[in-house]
């Protein structure tokens, strides 16, 4: 309780309040840093001295710089981000499918099919007319070209998804390396017993970025490192050790996602991924787009199966029957991409069989029979017409987008909510920091005053000599 004690107390207070200003300054500087959690200087009164009048305080001491953080919120943000990533990827993909079936321009499959049937009707008006025959061939070629173009456009989306998946897997591996690096730094710097606040913030951010791509489960070890696993428990990061993901072609040539174990063996984990962008892409590629591809192919097959036998029944102007109207290009695997107008017919339109009998150029009965297929329930076990079958495909594509959009919008709100929650706990408030700044500044000034007082006291004593 001497003057030196006062001086000492003042000098401690000065440094501590200065630390306070430093921490406040750091908070203000990082107000817009993504993933930053505000920090707080924890103060306590220093160990008291026992004197005749009881314990007397010896000033202030700074204990640690604490990171204000709720670890459960971190998990929640990651979960919601996984769902957001899933719906975002799915929505983007099905929106592209919807564009393939766009009918607003007027040259969708609906329009082209309608023109195909109408040109058969035109032929019935003048069964031996060469203009009518030429137009029919042109419209038929447009139909087959549109079928195959739609099919190829859908396949292109699948291929683009494949390259997205490859890119995402590379990104996951990069983030894993990042995690290992951060784990290392955290473990090292926490050996001293203090929290590695900045590195922990960065690690949380990396985990969030990872969550956008794939569903992960993570936990923290006793030494501060995290373990992250994906799929059905395949470990991606374990403290300072990382495994990697890769892709390999599946039976249909698309990319399967694999996990490489320590001895280099691949384990396919595609089916075990349940969230994140990867899941959204896989769903769009393997469910929605595959479904549309199959339906287009069925449409092409059924169209051929309905038109060809009727056409083969009839006779061309050259009095020959038994020709197919549509043929399949030998080199293609699917009807939708391979369907084409019989080259015999494109070579000579007189071979279009409008007549039911030979030597009957004015007979339009076979053309009528084919034209009538338009409103006949020929598909889905003879329950829907070609047109209605395609229209329902367009509806399905729209429905997928509509649903994905509403899930996506909902999920965006969810993420905003939890982010705001996190922000409300960990975010920096300029107002608050300004108040703190003034608070620490005042304390600093007062501490300086204390030293000055001690100095004056000292001078008083010295002047007595």
């Amino acid at each position: 309780m001497d003057i030196f004690g006062v001086l000492n107390m003042g000098s401690k207070a000065l440094t501590v309040q200065q630390k306070g200003i430093y921490v406040t300054g750091n908070n203000i500087a990082n107000v817009n840093t993504p993933g930053y959690s505000r920090q707080r200087l924890n103060l306590s009164s220093d160990v008291p001295l026992n004197t005749g009048i009881g314990p007397v305080g010896t000033g202030v001491t700074a204990n640690e710089i604490e990171r204000v953080y709720d670890r459960f919120l971190g998990v929640q943000i990651n979960n919601e981000t996984q769902s957001l990533g899933q719906w975002e990827a799915y929505k983007d993909s099905v929106e592209r499918v919807e564009m393939v079936f766009d009918e607003s321009g007027g040259y969708g499959l609906n329009q082209v099919m309608s023109e195909f049937w109408n040109s058969w009707q035109d032929l019935t008006n003048n069964p031996s007319g060469s203009i009518e025959r030429t137009v029919l061939v042109a419209k038929s070629e447009m139909l087959t070209a549109t079928l195959s173009q739609n099919y190829k456009d859908l396949q292109q989306i699948q291929r683009d998804i494949d390259s997205n998946i490859k890119g995402a897997v590379g990104e996951i591996n990069r983030l894993s390396e990042n995690l290992v690096d951060l784990n290392q730094k955290i473990i090292q710097s926490e050996l001293s017993g203090h929290m590695a606040n900045e590195y922990r913030d960065q690690r949380d951010l990396v985990l969030k970025e990872l969550s956008e791509l794939i569903d992960i489960s993570s936990f923290e070890d006793a030494n501060g490192g995290t373990t992250v696993s994906v799929g059905s428990g395949q470990v991606l990061v374990e403290g300072t050790h990382t495994y990697s993901l890769s892709t390999q072609p599946d039976a249909s040539g698309h990319r399967d996602i694999t996990w490489i174990d320590s001895s280099g063996n691949s384990v396919i984990i595609s089916d075990d991924i349940s969230k994140g962008k990867l899941k959204g892409w896989l769903d769009a590629r393997d469910v929605d787009i595959n479904d549309s591809l199959n339906k287009l192919d069925t449409l092409a097959q059924d169209l051929m199966a309905a038109v060809n036998p009727l056409h083969a029944n009839g006779y061309g102007l050259d009095n020959i029957n038994g020709r197919d109207f549509f043929t399949i290009e030998a080199t293609t695997a699917t009807t939708a991409t391979g369907i084409q107008v019989n080259s015999l017919i494109t070579g000579d339109t007189n071979r279009i069989a409008a007549a039911e009998g030979a030597d009957k150029p004015g007979d339009n009965r076979n053309a009528i029979a084919i034209a009538k297929l338009q409103d006949m329930p020929t598909m889905n076990g003879s329950t829907v017409t070609f047109g209605a079958y395609y229209d329902s495909m367009v509806s399905d594509a729209g429905l997928a987008v509509q649903q994905a959009t509403s899930y996506y919008d909902h999920q965006s709100q969810m993420v905003l909510q939890v982010e705001n929650y996190r922000e409300s706990i960990s975010g920096v408030s300029i107002d608050e920091e300004t108040v703190n700044l003034i608070k620490y500044q005042n304390a600093y000034q007062a501490a300086a005053k204390l030293i000055k007082t001690a100095d004056e006291m000292m001078e008083t004593i010295l002047s007595m000599i």
Partner: protein
């Protein structure tokens, strides 16, 4: 709850995005005048719109079929009208010159006249429309009737009829078999060419009495022949009537389909504009609020 500047700005950005999105959608509806611009705007509605578009396209096609059919019937009608007049002229000549007192020279000149009529009727029976023989059945590229040297005629067409698609599953039949009109003895009718030949033979008969009887016999048959042609005309009239009825049906149907499609597809402009105004107000209010909220901080009030 602690509210930081970031909460305020993030929330504002989210709302501004949402409202700008709604605004854009309404603007699109107004610009395109359509409520459904892509399938996801109304998936079920889009399916129906496509169905309606098909319906309209096929209705237009049926009406085109009908129009072409009507032109064809009118052409047939004109042709047969002329043919029926020709046969009637022959009948009148037969009635007028059936008496045995007519001089050989007169009969000879009348015979020449009837031969002309014969050729003209044959020309009518071999008429072409759109480059096709109209009374040859399905053998539209074959001249159906051939004039043999003895004034008999052969038919080289077939019995096929022409059919016109007028609506889903309905076809109107047009007789194209020339024999039903000109050589219908198979069905107990008249062979007009044979009868004209009988008349010519009668006029050229060396024995006036026998010839006169032969001429007189043709009068009644030629009358029947003319009726036969006119019966075919009334059959065409019936087909025409069916085409007209179908056309009327389609003409009435089309605007109804269009209306149904418009109701489904088109934007209610008044509603959209009112909505746009509301959205604009909301949007402007939000950004105005944003401008006021994000500016001040405690720093503004410290001096």
């Amino acid at each position: 709850m602690r509210v930081t500047q970031n909460i305020t700005t993030n929330t504002l950005i989210s709302y501004i995005n949402q409202q700008a999105g709604n605004l854009l959608k309404t603007q699109q509806q107004i610009a395109s005048q359509k409520r459904i611009n892509k399938s996801s705007d109304d998936p079920i509605g889009m399916g129906q719109v496509l169905g309606y578009r098909n319906k309209i396209a096929v209705t237009d096609q049926y009406q085109e079929n009908i129009e072409r059919g009507m032109t064809r019937i009118e052409f047939n009608e004109l042709t047969l009208d002329f043919a029926s007049d020709l046969v009637d002229t022959a009948r009148e000549l037969a009635a007028e010159y059936s008496g045995s007192t007519q001089s050989a020279a007169t009969r000879q000149s009348v015979a020449l006249q009837v031969k002309d009529i014969y050729d003209q009727v044959m020309q009518m029976a071999n008429s072409k429309f759109d480059g096709n023989y109209i009374f040859a059945g399905h053998a539209t590229n074959t001249e159906p009737f051939t004039h043999l040297s003895d004034f008999t005629a052969t038919y080289d067409g077939d019995e096929g009829d022409f059919q016109i698609m007028v609506s889903d599953g309905v076809e109107v039949n047009l007789v194209a078999d020339g024999r039903k009109i000109f050589q219908n003895e198979v069905n107990g009718g008249v062979n007009i060419f044979d009868e004209l030949k009988n008349l010519i033979d009668g006029l050229e008969h060396p024995d006036p009495v026998a010839g006169s009887a032969q001429i007189e016999a043709t009068v009644k048959v030629l009358q029947d022949g003319r009726d036969q042609i006119n019966d075919s005309r009334s059959e065409y009239a019936l087909s025409l009537y069916r085409l007209q009825a179908a056309d009327e049906y389609l003409t009435n149907l089309r605007p109804k389909v269009e209306e149904a499609m418009a109701t489904l597809e088109q934007a209610d402009l008044t509603k959209a504009v009112v909505e746009l105004q509301n959205l604009e107000l909301a949007y402007e209010t939000t950004i105005a609020t944003a401008a006021r909220i994000i500016q001040p901080s405690l720093l503004d009030f410290l001096r």
